[in-house]
Amino acid sequence: MADRGGTGSGGGGGQGALETAKKSRKPKYSRFSQQELPACKPILTPGWVITTFISIGVVFIPIGLASLFASQRVTEIVYQYDSDCIPPEFSDDSVEFIKSDKTNKTCTRTITVPKQMKSPIYVYYQLNNFYQNHRRYVKSRDDKQLWRKEDETSSQECKPEDFTANGQPIVPCGLIAWSLFNDTYKFRVNDKVLEVNKKNIAWSSDRDHKFGSDVYPKNFQSGTLIGGGKLNSSIPLNQQEDLIVWMRPAALPTFRKLYGKIETDLEANDKINIVIENNYNTYSFGGKKKLVLSTTSWMGGKNDFLGLAYLTVGGLCLFLAISFILVYVLKPRPLGDPSYLSWNRNAAGILN
């Protein structure tokens, strides 16, 4: 007997009463409701497994090599100066040193260039143990205020750095701006001053869309507690690139931020004379400050991670491909062999 769309259980009330008007209660047939859509039924055979591993290996290893090569070509100099730049008489009391107005914060040091570095050479400052990703810190800003002059009134989020003692709004408000990094670096090599270009160190989207061109700092760092650098109130915010760079909160407690670019080449074994103004207080919380000079490649700074990851994964996949081939050869199982059905394997006892 014909099996009318045999999967139709519960579909409408039966064959329907065939009156002269021939009304059938069968629901309208659609491939979706009867679950008869054409489908692709992939089966993960050994062939597919091995093919996938080999193709991953073949694609990833060259990418890994390229990335690693690019990263290896980058030269990076990291110099930690926070403990170095405390004069010996304050070595036990660095917090006192950094907070006092009267101490001399200038610190001169020399570093050697290990390899030739082609311009542009990027200067970063790296902070350790500084939690720019702390929840209260991240929300302590007012983006509307930064963009438009009309929205000058600081928001609640910026407490306690929102208004001055006499109720004037602080622009830019909030802890992020208040804790602006204010160490400065000057470089000389072979008695020639190296110009540090501080333009274009922030992402252009920030400069063009986040920080207004008609917003000027007002009442900034005017309280008794100074958290960081001061701002020139005659320069609009979208040109204050140090502030813009600082205000992009970093993801991890150890982070780098771009300070500037040096646009001359440095040769190997050059001695760079650095004059550091050690202003910023990282001593109260056990933070560290480092100065980083780095070239870049198409991939960015010196980061072997991606290259190594690609190589590792590619190599692992090739290794897995080979081991799977061995395993399939040593312990074969015919595809679609009914003797692997569990009721054929347990000869006795069907219902357990």
Binding site: G8, S9, T52, T296, G300, V313
Partner: protein, 500 residues
């Protein structure tokens, strides 16, 4: 009693090889006591008789059970004896005996007794019971069982209204159990475990972040990303999966009814399975978090600029969305175009959303444009989902080959056959019949009526072509049919609507 046994033979519940235990209330002993008319004595005697019979049958059954290759057992008991057998003192014996039998036939039972028997098995044997019936007298039985199936039709809709599932014909029961019940189990297991997995992955990635924020509770992802994750970016594929997933086709499900054992053994929702998903989620979240944060610790493109918190989290979020959607495709056994549409659509929805959102929202302003302007993004977009899915892929490869599930073996056995419902095979009658087949099909659907004519022998096609015309089904007439109709004594009436 004999009628019941005959029907049981016809339904293949009982066969000649089975050993039948018959507990009947029509034995001589009982008839004698009945004739005497004393109700109290009758009750007592019946109870004694039933007890004796039960004991005897139970002992015999134990013997058969101890020898492994004994015949199958069947129990036939009628309503009157059942009344006494369901007594609390005899109930346990009845249950033990019934559970040892392959078939139990109860005849002349009242609706209450039907329910009582069902409850006895349900509570006593602690198994899942299913009862099926079509009339009002089956309602209590349907409601007493775990799963009640009602057949709609001739006896009205009472059974349907009281039941959990309603079907139109008894033969659809095999479809209900073996096809749809099985698919339902598979789908529910997979949907539930997948849902927990995807949320676990997403949340654990944030969790690893808390260790590096000084435990201040800063969110890794932007709020709207988090809110819309479950609503927009990962919801539709799993819905489509739950609607359309099939491990084997309907005809194969019926061909291999042993596949139903997977549900009985709970193969897809054991703790081991759940633990495997959880482990996969933990592994993937570690990959997402550490790969992305470690590789963004230095400048990101040749301009040396650094990523901030929101850039890093957007990269991680993109990887999470893509990986979780691809993982769904990896676990599909049959992929329709809706799967592709929903998975592709979800990923696309994410990109469209973030393109628009990052133009509006202040803290993540232009984030996606910033990250998409670096090579780093594309490299990590290729690497991170691949590494995350690698473990699952290896696991699937090994499991499929060395420890295959039954349905996987069945899939492999029938891998080269076209789908049962495709026109190519013509295995089932669908819309593509030859004209002759169509004609006989149409005719076979006509109501069978006794003819209004007298004095004529009926030649099948001619008779049916008349009624076919009445029903609007075209069937060409035979020559003698015209002659026959010209000689009819009375005008043929329109056929009455058939009782179904």
């Amino acid at each position: 009693m004999e009628t019941a046994i005959n029907i049981a033979y016809a339904c293949k519940l009982i066969s000649n090889e089975m050993k039948q235990f018959i507990i009947s209330s029509e034995t001589d002993v009982i008839r004698e006591v009945e004739e005497r008319g004393d109700q109290v004595e009758l009750a007592r005697v019946m109870k004694e008789e039933v007890k004796k019979e039960l004991k005897k049958c139970l002992e015999e059954a134990q013997q058969y059970f101890n020898t492994l290759s004994g015949p199958k057992l069947a129990l036939v008991i009628d309503g009157k004896c059942l009344m006494y057998a369901l007594d609390p003192s005899l109930r346990v014996m009845l249950l033990n005996l019934s559970l040892n039998c392959n078939s139990v036939v109860c005849c002349r039972v009242s609706p209450l007794q039907k329910a009582q028997v069902t409850t006895l098995v349900k509570k006593g044997a602690r198994k899942i019971t299913l009862s099926i019936g079509d009339g009002a007298n089956d309602v209590s039985m349907i409601q007493a069982a775990h799963v009640g199936v009602g057949i709609s039709g001739l006896e009205g809709m009472q059974a349907v209204m009281a039941s959990d599932f309603a079907i139109a014909q008894f033969r659809f029961l095999s479809d209900l159990l073996l096809v749809h019940g099985r698919w339902s189990y598979l789908r529910i297991c997979k949907v539930v475990t997948y849902f927990f997995y995807k949320n676990l992955t997403f949340t654990l990635t944030q969790f690893w972040f808390t260790f590096q924020t000084g435990f201040s509770g800063q969110r890794f992802y932007d709020d709207w990303f988090q809110s819309l994750y479950n609503v927009m970016f990962t919801s539709l594929p799993v819905i489509i999966y739950g609607l359309l997933e099939k491990d084997v086709s309907a005809s194969l499900s019926k061909k291999y009814p042993q596949l139903y054992m997977e549900g009985i053994r709970n193969s897809f929702f054991k703790w081991r399975v759940v633990a495997m998903w959880a482990f996969s989620a933990i592994y993937q979240s570690l990959i997402f978090y550490y790969f992305v944060t470690d590789s963004t610790s230095t400048g990101q493109n040749s301009s040396g600029k650094m990523f901030g918190l929101w850039d890093v989290s957007t990269v991680a979020f993109t990887c999470v969305v893509v990986t979780v959607n691809l993982r769904l495709l990896m676990m599909c056994n049959s992929m329709t175009r809706w799967h592709y549409i929903s998975v592709g659509g979800s990923v696309l929805a994410w990109f469209v959303f973030v393109f628009v959102y990052s133009l509006i929202r202040e803290n993540v302003l232009y984030v996606i444009y910033v990250i998409m302007s670096t090579f780093y993004f594309y490299l990590s977009f290729l690497l991170v989902p691949t590494v995350a899915l690698l473990l699952d892929f290896i696991h699937q490869g090994i499991q499929r080959w060395f420890f295959p599930y039954d349905y996987q073996v069945v899939q492999e056995i029938h891998r080269n056959e076209p789908d049962g419902y495709l026109r190519a095979g013509g295995l089932e009658i669908s819309n593509h019949l030859t004209p002759d087949e169509a004609r006989s099909f149409a005719i076979s659907q006509l109501p069978r009526e006794t003819s209004k004519h007298t004095g004529f022998a009926f030649d099948s096609p001619g008779y049916e072509s008349f009624f076919a015309a009445q029903q609007g089904v075209y069937v060409p007439q035979k020559a003698w049919d015209v002659v026959r109709r010209a000689s009819m004594r009375s005008k043929a009436k329109a056929p009455l609507p058939p009782k179904r």
